[in-house]
Amino acid sequence: MGFNEDRKRYLAGLEDKTYFMLGDEACAYGAIFAGCDFFAGYPITPASEVAERLAEELPKAGGLCIQMEDELASMAAIVGASWTGGRSMTATSGPGFSLMQENIGYAIMTETPCVLVDVQRSGPSTGQATKPAQGDMMQARWGTHGDHNIIALSPNSAQECFDMMQECFNLADTYRTPVILLMDGEIGHIRESVTMPALSSIKPAARKMAKPGEDVFGGEELVPGITHYGMGQNVHVTGSTHKANGMRDVTTPHVHEALVKRIYNKIDDNREKIIRVEKDISQNGQSKIGVIAYGATARPSLGAVRAARDDGKNIDFMRLITIWPFARKQVAEFAKNLDMILVPEMNLGQISREIERFVNCKVVSVPKIGGVPHTVEEIYDAITEVAS
């Protein structure tokens, strides 16, 4: 972890400059700035450019990039790489994300820090392979079986694709868990300006290491220290229910309960530290209508909100930056004085139903599928329809 000489030399050539690049490419460079050591993946539209760019650039920065035989193997490879002490990641889209689910569960159960990028495309199945969507919101949350928590972030610009890779790796290492960058094909495939920061401003979070002989899967803390292969400690890493020392115990009820609850709670109890939202509240505080959006959809949504304000309507806006854990407290607070919340998203209402669970006002889904993002006008019309 951290930057070796190869990495420093490589990043010195990029730092502190502005580029014009794809969201996918920004994600790849963001990963290198975040100290990603290892990428394993299998190409798929619209995520291929993440792998392409990393295949070209990561070795120059002293990292390793492998094209695996499929997405099952890719996910397995990044789990293994993480246990050697590296920051590891993969990138895929819907069909590949489905194939990764089993090993995401394995990463959760073995408390393996790693990052997955899902550049969402239109599904189910192969769907509209080249068209964007936001249809994996719930798959990111519940795609793998069993009780668990997950961290997922949603960028709304190429710049955020870059910046959030650092955040994803830091969260993964801080909470010893897989973290998902839940992009959409729209943001992945637009080119925008991306400013890469000065190297000196990068502060990768360090993994907490277990002391020699200390249990790697339990103890007093919600997030136990980890150890790495080759450090001399014998550790059993298993997806089966295990005791604090890693050894299997798949029959004792309290062993399972304690393990799964701790893994669940290490994210749940820290949700306020993890969650980020962005608000744009009408100045006079008189709004009765709000709009909540995320990812690509947040862009036309904010445009529509501002256009409606120009027409004299009071509308509040909130963008979910963290999707999971869900910002239930922030959403409830946002909804407190509202009569209605509109939720535009490029699916048939996945997050609108989640919002509904935490507010007392009416929630109106503004869905759009088919591979074309909402226009400002469409969301503006949805606002005026309910505001009149």
Partner: protein
């Protein structure tokens, strides 16, 4: 300002939109570039869009454009209904036959022999897009020529820099003659 380039894969359509977008960013403006193409690397329908603005860009895939640059007949026919009334149409006059009945109201129409110039003057049809770029930007004045040149130099294959710049300057001259008329 929303500009759409349409044509076949291999005509430098996506590159043209990229170069304009990159130039705008070099000028300190905001820009979004977006594209759509078939799975064929050459010959399929291809479009490149670029949005340039001084302010935050909310619309990621605008339905209608201010400018349409068409290098093929099917591209022209498919996208001309999406040109805004009062917009600007630029076509390669040897490759596109325009039809006023299909066109929105009050558009400004320009037809230049970009591919022919590229072929006869430079012996390379492939640089017709550079003639178009120079022509279009002189007409519309969207990015500075300093940035445009820089973006061209950074993004064309090594060894072809002069060829591409010369083709672009040919387009600039053509537009200057046009406006002098």
């Amino acid at each position: 300002m929303i500009i759409r380039f349409v044509g076949f894969g291999g005509q430098g359509i996506v590159l043209s939109s990229y170069i304009i977008g990159k130039s705008a960013v070099l000028d300190g403006k905001r820009a979004i570039q977006n594209q759509s193409y078939g799975s064929e690397s050459r010959g399929g329908e291809c479009r490149g869009d670029v949005i340039i603005s001084d302010e935050e860009i909310y619309e990621l895939e605008p339905v209608n454009q201010d400018v349409l640059v068409a290098l093929t007949q099917p591209g022209y026919e498919k996208f001309i209904p999406h040109l805004k009334p009062g917009g600007t149409l630029i076509v390669d006059k040897d490759l596109v036959i325009t039809d006023e009945k299909m066109e929105p109201e009050n558009i400004a129409r320009y037809a230049i022999p970009a591919t022919d110039i590229a072929h006869k003057k430079f012996g390379r049809k492939i640089i017709a897009n550079m003639v178009m770029l120079g022509y279009m930007n002189t007409l519309l004045n969207q990015v500075t020529f300093e940035s445009l040149e820089k973006a061209v130099l950074e993004n064309v294959p090594k060894g072809t820099e002069k060829l591409n710049l010369d083709a672009m300057r040919e387009g600039i001259e053509l537009a200057k003659q046009e406006s002098a008329r």
